[in-house]
């Protein structure tokens, strides 16, 4: 199988998977016993109001028509209307998503760094006390409920020591606005918007493409190129979805990631504040997830360190750090990359609990709020969004893996 046919078959396989997933969620919410509208009202409402809500949400139609509406809505990016205020669920999800994404990115960075560092340390002293201690760490992190760890941090660093904020994303007055570009000619604003966002997306895309096409065999460079390509694709996508705003004669480019926006704004104080608020939640989630990476790195590095080329490198008198990170680790990295993709689902699940603990205004909190309002259409929308996101991420990771490891295509 060539790389191209692998990519095509992998993409084709994703479509039925997403379809099945959508059907499962639909069956859970609409078909299984438990009418969402009745559940929403509990019992105190009159039948008229219930019927009205059914009509407004299109839940009075036959189940097959509802199913068709649901699927065709999704194709247009429409996740339905909220039961609470009939506003668009897609809009609410897209405005909450950047907070979750930012938390997820930082947690993943922390989890992978801790995991790789401790895993390498453990494999260096295999079966010695240090190794056992690190293994215990791995097992214990697996057994800690993420929200409990979060609360322990809140007590220690937030309430007792008062070093870090207990919850929220930043001060209300400190929300970064992103990059503002004054537009002297308002009629041309839209054209400028499109042009700028395309340029903003295409510049990194070109860079990524060059990095990928370079004749170098360096694995890090290829990964970097790939990541940049994904980043720019996302950027162009976000631009299309209105992540750039035009108002009052100015163009605003904002990602919703406070760390990025504060830098775009050029305000280092806001950046520091964003990091301060981000620190405890992402450390909590990162630490809980790191156990898997510790375990994986440890066993992979142990295998690799026994191979001949490592002995050869050592025999040539290279420094230990160079041998381990420059030679051995590069060979043990691919499984870790796969694991990063697999752990993305666990990361999102953990994010729901972490966000609830730290009052972090992301998707997790959105779902929990909606549960309290008994807003079942919104819950369904959020669950669908998570499902599609995870499927796409695992698709990207598989493609990246196939690109980096030629064996997978065979």
């Amino acid at each position: 199988m060539t790389l191209r046919s692998y990519i095509i078959s992998r993409i084709l396989l994703t479509i039925p998977m997403i379809f099945i997933l959508l059907t499962i969620v639909f069956v859970i919410v609409r078909v299984l016993p438990g009418d969402p509208v009745l559940l929403h009202f509990e019992k105190m409402e009159n039948p008229q109001a219930i019927e009205q809500m059914r009509v407004k949400l299109g839940l009075n139609k036959p189940i097959w028509v509802q199913y068709f509406d649901y699927l065709s809505g999704l194709l247009r990016g429409d996740l339905g209307k909220s039961m609470q205020d009939f506003s668009s669920v897609s809009e609410q999800i897209f405005s909450a998503f950047p907070a979750t994404l930012e938390l997820a990115i930082f947690s993943m960075i922390i989890a992978v760094s801790i995991g790789i560092f401790l895993g390498v340390e453990a494999s260096k002293s295999y079966n010695k006390p240090k190794d056992h201690a690190i293994r215990v760490f791995g097992i214990v992190t697996y057994a800690i409920p993420v929200f409990f760890l979060g609360m322990v941090y809140q007590i220690i660093f937030g309430v007792t020591l008062r070093w870090l904020p207990v919850g929220g994303r930043t001060y209300p007055t400190m929300e970064p606005v992103g990059l503002k570009i004054p537009l002297t000619q308002p009629p041309g604003a839209f054209a400028a918007h499109l042009l700028l966002s395309c340029i903003a997306g295409l510049v990194p895309a070109t860079l990524g493409f060059i990095l990928l096409k370079m004749k170098s065999k360096k694995i890090t460079r290829k990964i970097l190129g790939f990541l940049i390509l994904i980043f720019s694709a996302t950027w162009i996508l976000l631009a299309g979805l209105g992540w750039h705003y035009i108002s009052m004669g100015e163009l605003r480019i904002a990602t919703g990631l406070y760390t990025v926006d504060s830098l775009l704004e050029g305000n280092l104080y806001k950046f520091a504040e964003a990091l301060r608020y981000l620190f405890l939640p992402s450390l909590t989630l990162g630490l809980v997830l790191s156990g898997v990476f510790v375990r994986l790195t440890r066993s992979n590095m142990f295998e690799t360190l026994r191979l001949d080329f490592v002995t050869a490198a050592k025999a040539r008198g290279l420094k230990e750090t160079t041998v381990i990170y420059g030679y051995a680790f590069r060979n043990a990295f691919l499984p870790i990359l796969t694991m990063m993709g697999l752990q993305f689902a666990a990361l999102l699940a953990g994010a729901i609990l972490t966000e609830t603990t730290f009052s972090w205004p992301g998707l997790g909190r959105y779902i929990v709020d909606r549960i309290n309002f008994r807003d079942y259409t919104a819950i369904q929308g959020a669950v669908v969004f998570f499902g599609i996101l995870v499927s796409l991420v695992s698709l990207v990771v598989d493609l990246l893996y196939a690109y980096l490891d030629p064996r997978i295509r065979l």
């Binding site: 997933l21 499962i24 859970i28 438990g34 207990v166 729901i352």
Partner: protein, 296 residues
Amino acid sequence: MNRLGVKRSMLARIVPGMASLTKRGLAGWLVILGAAIVASIIIMTLVSPWISPYDPSTKGINVGKPLTPPNSQFPFGTNDLGQDMLSRVISGGGIMLQVALLSVVICLLVGVPLGLFSSYIGGVFDRTICLVMDSVYAFPGLILAIAIAAMLGRGVTNMALSIAAVYVPSYFRVIRSQVLSIKEMPYIEAAQSIGAKSRTILFNYILPNVVPSIVVVATVNFADAILTAAGLTFIGLGVEVDIPDWGWDLTNGRRLLPSGVWWVITFPGIFIILLALGFTLMGEGLSELLNPKLGE
């Protein structure tokens, strides 16, 4: 005769392993330690009505001044309702254990037969089930459980059902991959050639060899189920409270944190960790003992 043979071969794998656990090095001790933790928590929960100093349910409100820090009368302090935290911790494992046990049983009843039949029959049937299972497996577990639990409503059974729905694919995958490799072995071919029925082959010749993997998956899954149950409770989908529950105490304690009340969450939290840790240790040790190949 045949059935007896099966029983013996299943027991033959497990019982001597139990007897000689202490001779199996670190892995054996992990199993013993884990089992000891789990057993003591279960026993503590079972005898809690007789050993807890105060009533842990809503009847025990205001036995002490609300939010008393740990002292000699209330070693774990009291919560905002004036309930004794020590009593609540002693009896608070019940719901979590019930939910976890029930969900593991449901998983076993659904996942094991599904994995056996699907891989043994093969073909379109197998591929369809695989695709469905893979879709569920790829989904973030807690999020799917939230959707199901939100629709089903509160209660131990509903919680167990929503957790089971999420973890069935883990059982299915492990069993399927095992059966696929066992199916190709000469002794199965021999059984087929002397005309053994499919049912006999599946249940008498294949199933006993899958049992060790099932034991490992179920043990590890216990820990997952407990943590998922705690998570569901934390976001407000737990069991309605009159019965003491560690998960509910954590949820309740979150509101009290900003005023520096650390004792309401700390002790229930530690016990959830201990329970999950016990199962994880057991799973870790068992997987090394029963499936040396899977271990590394």
